[in-house]
Amino acid sequence: MKTALCLLLLTTTVGCFDVEQVDPCAGTTPFLVDDFEDDDVLASPPFERWSCSGFNPDGNPQAVNDCGKISRDEENEAFMGDFTLTDVENELQEFTGASLSTSSTRTFDLGCYRAIGLSAKFVPGNPPPPAKYYVELTCQSATSGGTPGPYSVIREIDLTSSWLRFPLSLSNFRQPTWQTNALDGGEKACLARVDGVGLLLSTNLGDGDTGSGVLYIDDVLFE
């Protein structure tokens, strides 16, 4: 009788166990990349210092007139880059551009984040460049066909000369069309190993044409 009761209890007890669901993203809190309110231009680790750079041609410091923090209003600061961009006159259109960015020597897994939020604006100079604007997340260690990048995923945004706040779902980031080799594992593979955050200005300047303007970024946050 005692044995039967024990067996019954054991059976009942075993039958009552739940399989505990472990949420790997439990406890994930928003990650502030930078609000530019401290005394430096270093983003939150693992991201490093912010910089301004021109591309196409790459590594073009002459494109940068000014780079640094700037007062957004009486209380808040932001980061800005003042650019003059010239498409090199060579009978080709290079789609010259500029960026504000921070990078890291380590990767950051965005798998538990749903969006990146940031504030941005672009104040055109004279002449203003015809341009498109992108938020870019770089992933140099991602591969295509087993070969490392550099690769990235981007999301186009519309900037005006007034501050706008962008909550951008990470599920809408795509590999840019200028990267012709598809990422192994798709965009998710890149988002799992992000090593840089940037705001890109990509111009459509004609061959030999010049355009200028000031690009601003603030309050960059993974949500």
């Binding site: 750079s53 410091p61 640094g68 890291s104 380590r106 990767t107």
Partner: protein, 293 residues
């Protein structure tokens, strides 16, 4: 009798400590260690002798390294034939392994900021196939070139050694926070990351670039404290260079202690606000031992 010249077990350590009239040790029970260098000797060579080498290589050497500003580093990085490596008296002798008292340590410091460079460091090889080197006592010139900036370690020929009998390394370390950064990376220079292994590519920015060694970071405090780095905890920078799943413990050239510029460098061709990134530090490493399996 040497206080710690061979691999020793806990019991052996106590016996050695007793024989040396040392005070009780600080190492945890159950661990045993093998001395690589206690820094109490002269010159730049480590006492640890690899048990088996194909070439009959001698013991390895300490050296400092950087890509720029080598006249601002003490001891300065030099070519092998101008070896200026020295150990430094510790501010106050302290108790290390087996209750031994340490009076000297490896110290690397800056006299001027190193500007917009990845960092600097000091390292030792486990072996050296160059027999004798006449150390230089001349002060380094102001325009001292950085021999390691050429990314060519062929001047320090060495044979890789098998470390599979060891679980990791342990050492004492401290840093002066007033002098600058106190975070140090401990790197294992294995065949796949060291150009002498002829596996990776010395060419900067190549897909299989060398120098991305398996590493771990430690934060040094104001007083000497023991750190332990298990080989199983080491990882590579996932961004660049030749990358594998694990270090090649069968073929290891040496161990490095590197300091990186906080906040990183300003990327080439980019414009960064403010003063250029700079690096200063004053770090001490002492009593480096293997942790036996």
């Amino acid at each position: 009798m040497s206080c710690s010249s061979k691999a020793f077990s806990r019991l052996g350590a106590l016996l050695v400590a007793h024989a040396c009239a040392c005070s009780p040790s600080t190492e945890p029970a159950g661990e045993s260690y093998t001395r690589i260098d206690d820094m109490e000797g002269e010159g730049s060579r480590i006492p640890w002798q690899a048990p088996h080498t194909d070439s009959g290589a001698g013991t390895g050497r300490w050296q400092s390294f950087a890509d720029i500003g080598c006249s601002s580093l003490v001891p300065p990085p030099t070519s092998l034939d101008a070896d200026r490596w020295t150990f430094t008296d510790v501010p106050k002798p302290y108790t290390t392994f087996s209750g031994a008292s340490s009076t000297r340590a490896a110290r690397l410091s800056t006299t001027e900021p190193l500007v917009n460079t990845w960092g600097a460091g000091m390292r030792f090889d486990f072996t050296s196939t160059v027999d004798s080197v006449e150390p230089s006592t001349e002060p380094p010139p102001d325009d001292l070139p950085c021999p390691t900036a050429e990314r060519d370690l062929s001047e320090w020929p060495a044979e890789a050694v098998d470390l599979r009998d060891y679980r990791g390394v342990t050492f004492f370390g401290m840093a002066d926070a007033a002098a600058g950064t106190t975070r140090v990376s401990v790197l294992l220079l294995d065949r796949n990351s060291d150009p002498r292994g002829l596996v990776c590519d010395e060419t900067q920015a190549s897909a299989t670039e060398c120098f991305n060694s398996f590493a771990s970071e430690v934060e040094l405090g104001p007083d000497f404290k023991r750190f332990q780095v298990d080989f199983s905890d080491l990882s590579q920078d996932p961004q660049w260079g030749y990358r594998l799943d694990e270090p090649d413990l069968e073929h290891v050239y040496g161990v490095a202690f590197q300091v990186f510029t906080p906040g990183g460098v300003c990327p080439e061709g980019a414009v960064c606000p403010g003063d250029p990134p700079s690096l200063t530090f004053d770090i001490w490493i002492d009593d480096v031992y293997f942790v036996n399996r």
